[in-house]
Symmetry: C2
Subunit: 409 residues, 2 copies
């Protein structure tokens, strides 16, 4: 672990090239002069950097702009024909595959349900099939693929592309990187779902140009992507972000978390807690449309169904979300006190009920956070809602390309 901080000229070039590409990516169309202004770099330096990006076909020139005095600027944008990216999200009971361009625009996507108890190899093979389908779709257009990103709930060794442990899937030591790169011949990136979602928001979504924010991924559990000082924070072993397991209650606490402890925050604020709240209400009070909806749709009690009831004005559904929102907000408040972030972004499956959760989260934050800190934070829903991790899978590929322009051939 040679972590001593030294630098050389190559690093300077790399940094400036990345910053330039990142700006073109997020602010296109943009001119060389604007880039020079924004970066503070010399005009000639910007020209040299842009030249290199042009030569590598990462960006291209589009027509000049009009209006205003002076010579019109030549505008630049990321080359739309640069190539596409494949994103794969492995959820607990589904998997999704998407093809996007370099800007994160979805060109093709497919989602399949999966049985969490199914054999690991089978599930991986199913996923591989869809990935190959995705790759063959645009084949006639001779499209190039820039890489494949894969996200999964659990701890990941991103260097080797190995899933270390996914508690909800009961998977351990799965070498996704090796498997998928052998089968697709693409460069493969593996990342934790919440981390990837945070990168997606930073690159394409609600956290562009934001240096310090937390992505709270709420679903079966609650995970966090910690974006601090302008980059993802992973901790000593890459396990950072397990924000769901802050023990907020000692004894007596009924619910045992899947981590084995009692009193974890996520047991009060995950999707199951909402289902439990609804169940408890239905037992004592029957004036709800939820049983009817369940019968009509021959469905279990799920978050989408509860959301549907809430949309129809069902008080029990709305109140259950409100209660859960307050519990979520309690944890948000604690995190806000710890991190003093610019933004908190709520994403994951639960974010479909954002409309009912967020006001209560904000209310609880107001109540439980320190005023100077709590007033500074913006609490917003994810730009990509339940797709945050899927877009995240794409984003980690795009982010790597931007960060390593200089060294990629």
């Amino acid at each position: 672990m040679n972590s001593i901080n030294t630098t050389d000229q190559a690093f300077v070039r790399e940094t400036n090239l990345s910053s330039t590409l990142r700006l073109i990516h997020s602010l296109s169309p943009i001119s060389r002069a604007q880039l020079a202004n924004l970066t503070g770099l010399n005009k000639s330096t910007v020209s040299s950097l842009v030249d290199e990006l042009l030569q590598r076909k990462l960006v291209h020139e589009i027509g000049s702009n009009v209006g205003g005095a002076g010579r019109p600027a030549t505008m630049l944008e990321v080359n739309p024909e640069l190539g596409n990216i494949i994103g794969v999200e492995l959820g607990v009971d589904f998997f999704s595959v998407a093809v996007t361009d370099f800007m994160g625009n979805i060109l093709w996507r497919k989602r399949e349900d999966a049985d969490p108890n199914e054999d690991q190899e089978k599930m991986i093979n199913k996923t591989l099939l869809i990935v190959k389908e995705a790759m063959s779709v645009g084949k006639n257009k001779k499209q190039r693929f820039l890489g494949l990103g894969l996200t999964t709930p659990g701890t990941v060794n991103i260097k080797d592309g190995v899933l270390i442990f996914a508690p909800n899937l009961h998977w351990r030591n799965v070498p996704f990187g090796k498997i998928f790169s052998e089968q697709t011949k693409l460069k493969v990136f593996v990342e934790n779902d919440a981390n990837a979602a945070a990168v997606a928001e930073h690159l394409f979504g609600a956290a562009r140009q934001v240096q310090d924010f937390l992505f709270v991924f709420s679903g079966v559990g609650i995970g966090g992507g910690l974006f601090l000082n302008g980059k993802l924070y992973r901790g000593k072993n890459g396990y950072a972000g397990e924000i769901g397991h802050f023990p907020i209650m000692t004894e007596p606490s009924q619910t045992v978390c899947h981590c084995g402890n009692r009193g974890c925050w996520e047991t009060y604020a995950n999707q199951y807690s909402i289902i439990q709240r609804v169940r408890a209400r239905l037992e004592v009070k029957r004036t709800s449309i939820i049983p009817k909806l369940m019968a009509e749709q021959n469905s279990e009690l799920t978050i989408p169904l509860i959301k549907q009831a809430a949309d129809a004005g069902d008080k029990e559904a709305i109140d259950s979300f409100a209660e859960a929102g307050l519990a979520m907000g309690q944890g948000f408040a604690g995190l806000i006190n710890i991190f003093n972030p610019s933004k908190m972004i709520l994403g994951g499956p639960l974010s479909i009920a954002e409309k009912y959760l967020l006001p209560n989260i904000i209310e609880a934050v107001k109540r439980h956070s320190m005023p100077e800190i709590g007033q500074q934070v913006e609490i917003v829903p994810s730009t990509f809602g339940p797709d945050a991790s899927l877009i995240g899978a794409v984003a980690i590929v795009a982010d790597d390309i931007i960060n390593h322009v200089a060294t990629r051939k």
Copy 2:
């Protein structure tokens, strides 16, 4: 806020110069060849960097080493005559001033009790008097002062050197930087106590070379210094680290935290909570030496007194510490899950009872943290114990000098 990340050659030199000085500072005596190995820089580059440090008298050569084949190495160390640093800690009911050398060795120190209700101006003037005494002590030796650091519990605008708000002191908007630099003609740095203590551990103490650790400052409240990715994390406005106010209990919770909320973690784990635990025990069970000690010393019930009782084997004292240790450990576990740090460092006034608290903290961490993460962390007491913030005040000066060698005249 032009936070676009660009670089130039001057930055390269600055970075490499700082890294070199930092290594000499923390690993002296050290040779050029060792520096080249550690940094990965070319031997000639290291020679050039060391030359510059030698010219500026920041480091100097000491005799060659002996033994082993090959040419003996010329060893380097920080110039002990470089100058001294003044550290000032403003506590809630005391203030301390220290003079140290550049390595953090204390050369002179003085502590005075203070009345927290006293007039702000009076307290500042008292402190200034002691600072001037400190400066005059070694005057005959013509010692130079490199700067003055001041730490205080509360939120600080470090750029302007202004204390924004210290809840325990009830102070707001105190321009310490201006006041102390006018009176001493020194460069003044103001910092939150926990943050400064973290820097001290990184520079002089238990966290040398550690990239990711948390300093937990436990006393009247619980504050945290978050050292992440190799540097202090301050958040959007510099308020990050308020780890004491994670709401771990909602209702019903008896104790109101000074932040106004109920259920904050620190109300279960600060020094007052221990005193409360002892009181409760004494009410029901009288077989303790604590009342006798209080009478003998004509003292209130204080942490040092309880610690004294524990040292004498008093079960009530020991059990009270154990209980508090478990409550502290609960919060530690949550933080460990969030940050996946290499180390957790316990400091502040409560750390004098480290012997009784740490085993229980470790026990609670084992119980409440996720195994993969909890097993990775080392939980240790501060190298400087209750002086962590005072040494921290010194450390922020030394750290600034190291970080800005290239640009300081």
